[in-house]
Amino acid sequence: MKIKVLKTGVLSTIQDLGRMSYLSEAIPQSGAMDSLSARVANKALGNQDDCATIEFTYGDAAIESKTDLLIAYAGSGSILTVNEETLPMERPLFIPAGNIILINHAVYGARIYLAIAGGWDVPLVMGSKSTYLPAGFGGYLGRVLKKGDLLNNAKQLSDVSLAFLKFLCGDRINYPKWSIAKRKMLPGHLYEIRIVPGREFGWFDAQSILDLLSAEFSVGAKSNRMGYQLGGAKMKRVRQQELLSTAICPGTVQVSGDGGMILLMADCQTTGGYPRIAQVALVDLPLCAQLRPGDTFRFIEISRQEAEDLAIRRERDLARLTRAVELKVEI
């Protein structure tokens, strides 16, 4: 299977579930900002969760099917169409050769993930196919996708992918009636981000903590895959001691010198020296990934134990989903 990029979009890169094994060498995790959507797109095809996907930010892109394709997409921020027909999310899509797929901007959200049966075929760099733009490695030649790029799938398909292909193939666009209901795994409110108090939570005054847990914050214009600058109340320190650099990770909320908060995202550095007021619950990082500059949200405090329970429950739900997709083949 092969596609050609006709229009590159705002920021389109290859991402999988990230590069965890080289953090000690200061190689960022990277990977899909909304890993839940990337995994759902892969699961819908019977792929392994860590198959490479294309992360399209704010859409505005177009691709052409140079061969027949079996693809799936998930996330928010864009809708795929072919000849003005909307392609539904979260299910396998058979697209015959010679179609132009438009990736159009949607009202809510920022990022969608386009998966293909077998995953996109790019080399593994340090154990991952994710693109890390600041150092120019991983993904497709270490860079954003550009007009004219040709991308292939990896040739090894799972039995589930082969079965979907056999069932759906033909001379027209085809897809099953079912879809994965990713929404059911998300909390009721998409603009409430759950946090656990960070290591230096106690370094800030009472008013700052009240603001942190009750006021609205907005995603700043200077936000990218490394992190979001948050607009809103400033956090005032009561402890002024210098903090020695230590490990940080996506979801860490740091407070910079001027009291502004920075929410670290997928491409963040591996160590940092700003006080950490909070840590976003792992299960809510996908919600953060869908926030756009200007969007407002609130933080909700939960305990470390609740965050851990949520993470494990989410993984159980996802494992069940894999089985459910396999069952679609058996019927």
């Binding site: 965890m20 094994s21 080289y22 953090l23 000690s24 060498e25 200061a26 190689i27 960022p28 760099v125 340090m126 600041p134 150092a135 490695f137 991983g138 656990v196 290591r199 020695l244 650099s245 230590t246 490990a247 940080i248 990770c249 979801g251 860490t252 550095q269 591996t270 160590t271 940092g272 840590q279 619950a281 792992l282 470390r304 134990q305 965050a307 851990e308 993470a311 494990i312 993984e315």
Partner: protein
């Protein structure tokens, strides 16, 4: 219970940070290095990797694998705390010697544009700056900032020098710089504010290499002055090393 480390806290649902002390010193650094070596030799189920820093070691793990592994404790945090405390008691932590790396550096000129500036500020000659900088043994406290960037401790306090007030838009990979009491080597072309006194021909970071970062936390480093000619030769023969 052991007093090897003083605290453990959760960074997120897939990482805990073990705190060994509160200030930078070599005794603490040695403890962190040995504990890192030990846990790498005896990983727990689901452990992914570790990140050493000045006073801490962060251990990353897969929450589902750890949770299902049957270690004592009701939560992952309890399981890991229990495991790490036992590990600290049961293992012999005194046997690991640090790896030593010799880093050739061409000091001054276009390679080290701030050398003369540092010399003037310190009321020393450039030759003395080079002598001081290349006669110490440095310790890699951590790799951070960008891939392969090593924070080195152990610099002669005579060389302490604040960062540049106006950072450079691009500092070339291999540049050796001073910032406060620290010295370090830029691993990639990046913006930077350190005072640049020389450059190494070694490739500090290479995504294609088996070990992408030449330096690892816990290594010892010595700088060896080389001429421009030697620099060019070594750079041309980088791939053979």
């Amino acid at each position: 219970m052991t007093n090897l480390f003083i605290d453990i806290y959760a960074l997120n649902e897939g990482a805990v940070t073990v705190v060994f002390g509160e200030e930078i010193n070599l005794i603490l650094a040695g403890k962190i290095r040995r504990f890192n070596e030990t846990i790498s030799r005896y990983p727990f189920p689901g452990m992914i990797t570790t990140v050493a820093a000045y006073t801490s070691l962060t251990v990353f793990y897969d929450p589902v694998t750890l949770f299902g592994a049957g270690l004592p404790g009701l939560s992952n945090f309890d399981k890991i705390t229990h495991y790490l405390k036992n590990l600290a008691i049961e293992t012999n932590l005194d046997e690991v010697m640090p790896t030593k790396i010799v880093v050739p550096v061409c000091y001054g000129g276009t390679m080290g544009p701030d050398l003369d500036l540092v010399a003037t500020a310190k009321k020393l000659t450039s030759a003395e700056i080079i002598e001081f900088h290349s006669s110490a043994t440095y310790y890699v406290h951590m790799i951070g900032f960008v891939p392969g960037f090593a924070y080195l401790g152990g610099m002669n306090p005579e060389l302490n020098m604040p960062r540049k007030t106006q950072p450079r838009a691009i500092v070339k990979a291999g540049s050796v710089g001073i910032a406060g009491a620290q010295t370090g080597i830029y691993s990639l072309d990046t913006p930077g504010g350190w005072q640049i006194i020389g450059r190494t021909p070694l490739r500090m970071f290479d995504a294609e290499r088996q070990q992408p970062s030449l330096l690892q936390s816990g290594y010892e480093v010595v700088f060896k002055p080389v001429t421009m000619k030697e620099f060019e030769y070594l750079k041309a023969h980088n791939d053979e090393n």
